[in-house]
């Protein structure tokens, strides 16, 4: 006689990743670091944006980069020229960074440097509009990039990424006059699932919009620092 029983578990499949992400964030909070998770499709301009950000802000804020790529160190090598620590993580066949990988990057940073010296850790995620937004890595804010060459419909097709973003950079804005793109339609589509996101059109090539991006970074860093300071009182 084979009697069946049911055990109700109700356990989230992403529970382990979330715990690890929360642990990463608590390290960042302890060290007074603000972390951004920077995501987009391949080729939207994450690395170029980081190059401009490091060139302009690394005198003002002490920055480290955790660079995720499926293979090669090409992006990490581009960023190392700016004189900041760049921890390269190859994800292999994994199409996104997860909290455990970033924990390894944090560990490496803490071994080679004094982490409390840093203000910002920028995590450049693997180019992918589908999965990265589901896997927190310990960030304080998610930054999504969408280039004008990708089309207005991408927020509708990849809603989770755009819904989760705290800041959306519309990149390569200098190309807009040569394309049949309606930037206000991008904003309208994103508004459907994320009415509060900060939308900033930028061009890493011409510099348009970058000061607005840098101001957003400064504001977000200031807010996170205030929160961290009040936590530790």
């Amino acid at each position: 006689m084979h009697q069946t029983f049911n055990a109700a578990l109700g356990i989230n499949l992403l529970y382990a990743n979330q715990q690890c992400a929360d642990h990463n964030r608590s390290h960042f909070d302890e060290w007074g670091i603000t972390c951004f998770n920077i995501m987009s499709s391949p080729g939207a301009g994450k690395t170029a944006l980081l190059e401009r950000t490091l060139a302009s802000l690394s005198d003002e804020l002490k920055i480290a980069v955790i660079e995720g790529d499926m293979t090669t160190n090409l992006d990490a090598e581009r960023l190392q020229k700016y004189g900041v620590p760049v921890i390269a993580i190859n994800t292999g066949r994994s199409c996104h960074l997860d909290a455990k990988m970033v924990a390894g990057g944090i560990h490496q940073l803490a071994q080679e440097y004094n982490p409390a010296d840093f203000d910002l850790v920028l995590v450049e995620n693997v180019g992918n509009l589908v999965c990265p937004a589901e896997f927190e890595v310990g960030e304080h804010a998610k930054v999504a990039l969408l280039s004008v060459t990708e089309g207005e419909d991408k927020p509708l097709k990849y809603p989770i990424m755009f819904q989760e973003a705290d800041c959306l950079l519309i990149t390569k804005i200098d190309l807009a006059p040569y394309l049949d793109i309606d930037v206000s339609q991008i904003a309208a589509n994103v508004w459907q699932m994320n009415p509060d996101v900060a939308i900033i059109p930028v061009s890493a090539k011409t510099g348009e919009g970058l000061e607005a991006w840098f101001d957003w970074v400064r504001r977000c860093f200031a807010a996170a620092t205030r929160s961290q300071t009040s936590q530790h009182r």
Partner: protein, 120 residues
């Protein structure tokens, strides 16, 4: 493929539960709830599960996946609606943005069905 990682997490969680039982049962089914507004494809999860459980205590266990639809609640209209994934997320009546998702983001192990072989 992230379904591989999730399946590893699933097996790890079930194994911990199984080991914690006073007497290790024979698991027959694992019930999952997977929302349609997640990045998980149930067929990929099934495939990864079948591959990863070969020659383990979970070999032959049936993975039963219940998919939940995307349902949002419009606070202005005070009613639920079904956003159309890929097309329209705002409330179809008043066009307010989708800011309260009631269903469709689940990714969980709901329950495990198991038994004990009878002693003959």
């Amino acid at each position: 493929m992230h379904e591989t990682d999730m399946t590893k997490a699933l097996i790890y969680t079930v194994k911990n539960w199984w080991k914690s039982q006073p007497k290790q049962p024979r698991i027959s089914q694992i019930h999952l709830i997977v929302g349609k507004f997640t990045c998980v494809e149930p067929a990929s999860l099934q495939f990864a599960f079948e591959v990863q459980t070969r020659n383990t205590f979970l070999e032959g266990v049936k993975l039963v996946i219940q998919e939940t639809p995307l349902i949002a609640f419009c606070h202005r209209c005070q009613q639920e609606y079904f956003p159309q994934i890929g097309l329209q997320y705002a409330c179809p009546d008043c066009h307010s943005p989708m800011d309260d998702i009631r269903s469709g983001r689940e990714l969980k192990i709901d329950k495990i069905e198991y038994g004990y072989a009878s002693n003959l």
